[in-house]
Amino acid sequence: MTLALELQGIVKSFPGVIALNGVSLAVERGSIHALIGENGAGKSTLIKIITGVHRANEGTIKVDDRIVHFVNPRAASREGIGVVHQERNLIPRFSIAENIVLDRIAAKTFAPINYREINRLGEQWLRRLELDLDVRRPVSSLTAAQAQMVEIARALSLQSKVLVLDEPTASLTSHEAEALFRVLRQLRDQGVAILLVSHKLEEIESLCDCVTVLRDGRNATSSGPLAGYDRAALVRAMVGRDFALEQAARIGFTSTASNSVPALELDGVSTSLGHRDISLSVARGEIVGLYGLVGAGRTELAKSIIGLHPIVSGELRVHGRAVRIGDVNSAVHRYSLGYVSEDRKAEGVILMHSVLANAGITIWARLRGALRLLSDSRILSNVDPLLRRLDVKAASRHAAVRNLSGGNQQKVSIAKWLAAGVEILIIDEPSVGIDIRTKAYLHQLIMNLADQGTAILLISSDLPEMVALADRILLMKDFRLVSEIANDKDYTKISADIMSRIQAVAFD
């Protein structure tokens, strides 16, 4: 047999929820195997069982045809299983290199630490992913995408027989993703078995050999070659019925007298984080996209606008009035300006609090009655329609967000800002980890917001999403705006245009 990993009849339940109900999976050596399914289907739970984080209630796991019982993650990694989980597991204060070779530092308890060797090793693995970062930088200073790449480098450095990746490309641009795919193909050719979770069907089609589809904790398809499926068939297996993927296109933004004064305007803005001379404007009802490679400074710009970091020169104008925004509270409640964070775990949601407490946080101040009294039912009536529309799957509205699947956490993180009813909304990587069906709903919601007059600044590394939503696309590189493209929604043309412009700037 050439099976590197085989699972049979896996059952896993949590209090109140059966996450996996008799799932089987077979991954061949020297293949890239896609594990797909909607948010909450059980993909991450399955991966946590393969890697010894959770223990299955029932079922068997075989590695190289031997039955194994993993009591903890170390046991799994001893069997040659390496993993990048959906959520980041890095030590923020440690350097990039230390994080990459961490396991080997820990193994030799009393040996003196050779930093030159650590940095050399760290550098070596980063280079393979074509990442140009100083390996001595602390991980806390990295963006979500950079941290993602560092964690992938760590998994690669273990040189495992089975490599498991849970949505590794969720926050990457196609540029970084391509670098990752090149490495994955090399590994496959060397005989490594790779199990990959992704919601991006294009990348699955171009990369994977085999596929397993999960739905509601069961196999919607058993493991088999990907060649047997076209895209519609995959979608049908995931959703459980036919689902049209076509995006409702937006009529588009037209400038009129009522939106001639930009809702949000930056004029020659420089920030303490290093942005120089940024000028941009977003009108009421307009969606302006901000695209750039990892580390271009887009998230940092958004955070400077909402008052988390100081603007050192230039002018920020809201509805034509020059303003100084000192903190997020006044951004939201005085200037009606909101920001959907890209980092859902640390900034987007409060993991220990309920779905309801998270979804309502932006509207508490608005909904409260006399004596600041505010009931659950009042909050619920405001956020429930959105939670339903985004199809947030949770045991109940009172379930802790910590216990939701990654994609469902992301939905909560967005829902609270869609509910907030702000006039200007900065949306940073909204569809990270969200399944295709919800993504279509989400895009519809964002377009509706714009149609109702909200000014939207959209930061996304997902180029198809950018092309589908934005009216104009601004390109950012090294904390400067380098270019602007009018979006005519012709994906092939626009993506080629963007790539060539980014390359051109790169060789300046």
Binding site: G217, G348, S354, L371, R372, A395
Partner: protein, 331 residues
């Protein structure tokens, strides 16, 4: 995903903790009635409910700060200083009782406000700030009062200490429970309370959602100061005097009950979760244990030893519980 049971049928953590505490209270009552002579006598129950009133307030004073992930070591010093303040207003300036008490609450609130202000603007952990303010407040109070008690108090004030209902119940417990109910409503049904818990659970996520985390930290410290002041006034009513040493040197004697109630009551030391009902029940249990053990004449030091052990055990149990099973319900 398959939803097995609805969350309604899931055991609610707060309710199960409350039930556990209630059970312990009943068991301890039975055991002490049997082993400690005079435990169930009306007079002992009266003093027990009187002390419970004090301990409930102390527990709540600590709980509101712990809810944001901080703590307040100055509850004792603040409580005594505020009571002394009320005493001087009544003795030397002939203030009316009600006005003096309200002034004392404001005084305690102001001291707490200062704590919170320094915590937020100097970005120092509340442990250090309140350790310092404990010494400062207590030291200043001793200097200003020359360590002398206030005894020349209006008759109406002294009369409060003599009220006794049904022979065994002190109204002090009722007052404290009523204050607890207000705090429960604040935490559960106002935006203020929700913001306090959000700030404690994740200050970063709360900040980015537009919550003024700094203000909320100041709010809880001020509230804690007010509750400590109320406790100080309550103890003075019981003593019929304001005594600078009534909470021990630096007010330290209040710290153990102040931490025991919220910790036994399931308040997370890291912040983000606080239950009033269980804190009140835990305060009752602690008072009961103390009273029972004292009646059994096993010695003050052993009582301290036992209470300290209970605190440690409660912290370890909570740690074990949260690592062993991620619980379903959120807050």
């Amino acid at each position: 995903m398959a939803v097995g049971r609805s969350s309604r049928s899931q055991p609610n953590e707060e309710a199960s903790t409350a039930l556990g505490l209630l059970l312990l209270i009943v068991i301890a009552f039975a055991v002490f009635s049997w082993t400690a002579t005079g435990f169930a006598s009306p007079y002992n129950l009266y003093t027990l409910t009187r002390t419970a009133g004090l301990n409930v307030l102390l527990g709540l004073a600590m709980m509101v700060v712990i809810a944001t992930g901080g703590l307040d070591l100055s509850v004792g010093a603040t409580g005594v200083a505020s009571a002394m303040f009320a005493g001087y207003l009544m003795q030397d300036f002939r203030f009316q009782m009600v006005i003096a008490i309200v002034a004392a609450l404001c005084f305690g609130g102001a001291l707490g406000f200062c704590n919170g202000f320094v915590v937020v603007f100097a970005r120092v952990h509340s442990f250090i700030v309140t350790l310092a303010s404990m010494s400062i407040i207590f030291g200043a109070m001793i200097v200003l009062t020359k360590a002398e008690s206030v005894r020349d108090l209006p008759a109406s004030f002294l009369a409060l200490g003599k009220i006794r209902w049904f022979g065994y119940l002190s109204p002090m417990l009722i007052v404290s429970v009523a204050i607890g109910a207000l705090i429960a409503i604040m935490l559960r049904w106002t935006d203020l309370g929700r913001e306090i818990l959000a700030s404690g659970a994740s200050s970063r996520a709360a900040t980015l959602s537009g919550v003024r985390v700094g203000s909320r930290i100041i709010t809880v410290h001020a509230l804690s100061g007010m509750l400590a002041a109320a406790a100080g006034v309550m103890l003075s009513i019981r003593n019929g005097a304001m005594v600078p040493s009534m909470a021990g040197n630096l007010g330290q004697e209040w710290l153990l009950p102040a931490f025991l109630a919220p910790v036994l009551g399931g308040t997370l030391l890291s912040g983000g979760r606080a239950w009033v009902l269980t804190t009140v029940l835990a305060a009752l249990l602690v008072t009961e244990l103390t009273s029972g053990m004292l009646l059994m004449a096993i010695g003050e030091f052993w009582v301290q030893f036992a209470l300290g052990s209970v605190l440690l055990l409660a912290v370890l149990l909570e740690k074990g519980r949260s690592t062993l099973m991620g619980t379903g319900e959120g807050i």
